[in-house]
């Protein structure tokens, strides 16, 4: 995929890691990249964010695990993953040969668990960096790190101490003020933030008179429905953070991605759209490059909105 002449589509996201372009794929929507690699569907990507990885293998939540909603979907996968050991031994070596950096999405029930996952993978060839998932709404206590600035900072600082690789922290949108959390993790050493993870939601089965998904019935909402909220979150973060922001939420087209860049993101991650269209991220990238070409962009940040010129209310 060629870029427009005199246009540098790359995006630095910290510690020397430069994405070739601003289109990545979001954790949990691309597995560990192996399915897509087999299809030849990874070469164009700016980065791959792996499925959330924990110390021990996790079987995940009992089914059903997903349900569709208006312009969105709910998931309660429950961090099904083969555990860090298998990721280290089987997946990382494969990633080492790929032309795309893979950042491992890390989850845990305690600061110590986060650190153990990071330490095990640190400096392994194939692991380009980490994305701390302090915001997964699907496991007990998963929320706490993401909703309290102190806890978010502690988790970030501990991971920071365990690696020299780029450290991205993925923020929860289920908070009163996302900027407060963003600020805390920037101070604690995050190289970038991802915004956002899924929104807490529920689907009800009227026939069964209970939630569709098991247990408490809550799950994470993603897809086009959340884009307006995620854009607002990114714009809010841009006001207070100096580090790069990876915008996430309902990106399905180049326009969506470019809107995130306007709102203040440095790059985007394509999530749910990968499910309905396995080549979504490729189309997003192609459209973005075409836009840059036709608009004669100098760099992506030319697109960025610099804030309101005038007062907010009339």
């Amino acid at each position: 995929m060629s870029s427009p002449p005199d246009f540098d589509p790359s995006v630095p996201i910290g510690r020397g890691l430069v994405l070739r372009n601003p289109v990545a794929v979001a954790s949990g929507t691309f597995g560990f990249g192996l399915e897509a690699e087999a299809m030849g569907q990874i070469d164009h990507l700016g980065a791959i964010f792996s499925k959330g990885t924990t110390v021990e293998p996790r079987p995940g939540n009992r089914p059903p695990r997903i349900a569709e909603t208006s312009s969105g979907m709910l998931n309660s996968i429950g961090l099904q993953n083969p555990g860090v050991e298998l990721v280290a031994r089987e997946y990382a070596p494969r990633w080492a040969d790929w032309p795309v950096p893979v950042l491992v999405n890390v989850a845990g029930a305690s600061v110590e668990e986060y650190v153990r996952v990071v330490s095990r993978l640190d400096r392994l060839p194939g692991v380009a960096g980490f994305e701390l998932n302090i915001s997964c709404p699907n496991i007990a206590h998963g929320l706490d790190f993401g909703t309290e600035p102190g806890a978010a900072a502690r988790c970030t600082a501990a991971a920071r101490a365990a690696t020299e690789l780029p450290l991205v922290v993925k923020l929860s949108p289920n908070v009163t003020d996302i900027a407060e959390i963003g600020h805390a993790v920037e101070d604690a050493g995050a190289d970038a933030v991802s915004a956002v993870n899924t929104y807490l939601g529920m689907k009800i089965s009227l026939r069964r008179r209970r939630p569709v998904l098991p247990g408490a019935g809550t799950a994470g909402l993603s897809g086009p429905a959340i884009k307006p909220m995620a854009l607002a979150a990114v714009a809010r973060l841009r006001r207070v953070l100096t580090i790069p922001i990876l915008g996430i939420g309902g990106v399905a087209s180049a326009e969506d991605a470019l809107e995130y860049l306007v709102a203040g993101a440095d790059a985007v991650q394509v999530g749910t759209a990968n499910f309905s269209d396995p080549s979504a991220s490729r189309k997003v990238l192609e459209g973005c490059l075409e836009f840059a070409r036709s608009q004669g962009l100098g760099r992506w940040s030319d697109l960025r909105w610099r804030g309101p010129e005038e007062a907010g209310t009339a």
């Binding site: 949990g28 929507t29 691309f30 597995g31 192996l34 399915e35 897509a36 690699e37 087999a38 299809m39 499925k51 293998p57 996790r58 079987p59 995940g60 939540n61 009992r62 089914p63 059903p64 695990r65 997903i66 349900a67 569709e68 312009s71 979907m73 998931n75 996968i77 099904q80 993953n81 083969p82 555990g83 050991e85 298998l86 089987e90 689907k203 089965s205 026939r207 069964r208 569709v212 086009p224 399905a252 749910t272 990968n274 499910f275 309905s276 269209d277 396995p278 080549s279």
Partner: protein, 285 residues
Amino acid sequence: MTVAQAEAAALGASELERALDLEAECTRLLALEEDLFEVSFWAPEMARRARPGEFAQIWTGPDHLRRPFSFSRADPERGTVSFYIGAVGRVTRRLRRLREGEPVRLLGPLGRGFSLPQEPGRSLLLAGGLGAAPFPLLADWLLGRGEAVVWLNGARSPAQLYPPELLPPGLAARSQVTEDGSLGRAARVTEALPAELSQFHRVYACGPNPMLAALWERLSSGSAAGRLEVSIEAPMGCGFGTCLGCAVPLPSEGAGYALCCRQGPVFPAGSLDWERLRRQPAHLE
């Protein structure tokens, strides 16, 4: 098999390698009783690749996830694949209104289908309602290999029965049962099983989970247990193994889940946890 082993086993074996993602035009829509219909699309290469029990993900527009449907027919000569569908919700109702020439996106073939005989013998096909969907294609393949095929066609009422006139020619035997008795015997599929199950080299079943669970209860202790293959449904996010949404419970506690889209949708009945499957809503929401 532990979760980790399952993941390791899946390494590199991508179902997507043989799947096509293409726009396909509707060539024919056959409206059947009630909200049932058979719809065909022009997709020659997919028609060549499709195996019985495999499925395709259909996409009618950007406002929804894809929906999985088993191939009910695949005709490499005409270049078409067909699906037997019940209009139960948003997308299936949209599909029922398709006109000739209108396109949808098809992603497939996906999944692991039915295992086929190495040498001819006798097969029993047990269809519950919409569960008949994969059987026309399966019967085609079996008959083509010289198999003697018995088709037991069941449903709650005649309107939900797979249309007898569409049953493939050449079946060794066919019988119909409806729960309300208005067509064929008044019985559930599981109550109408042939007495001599041991005569069958293969038993294939597809239908609502409670039917399959009841079937397994009947067969699990007998000699036919190891010969039963079932096609299972699970709500799917992607259809190709990345969302982990389509979990199907495996029996032993540590084993966790199989992915319906990748390790299924057809499973040896004995490999699944029927206790948990039975409790799962028969008709998902």
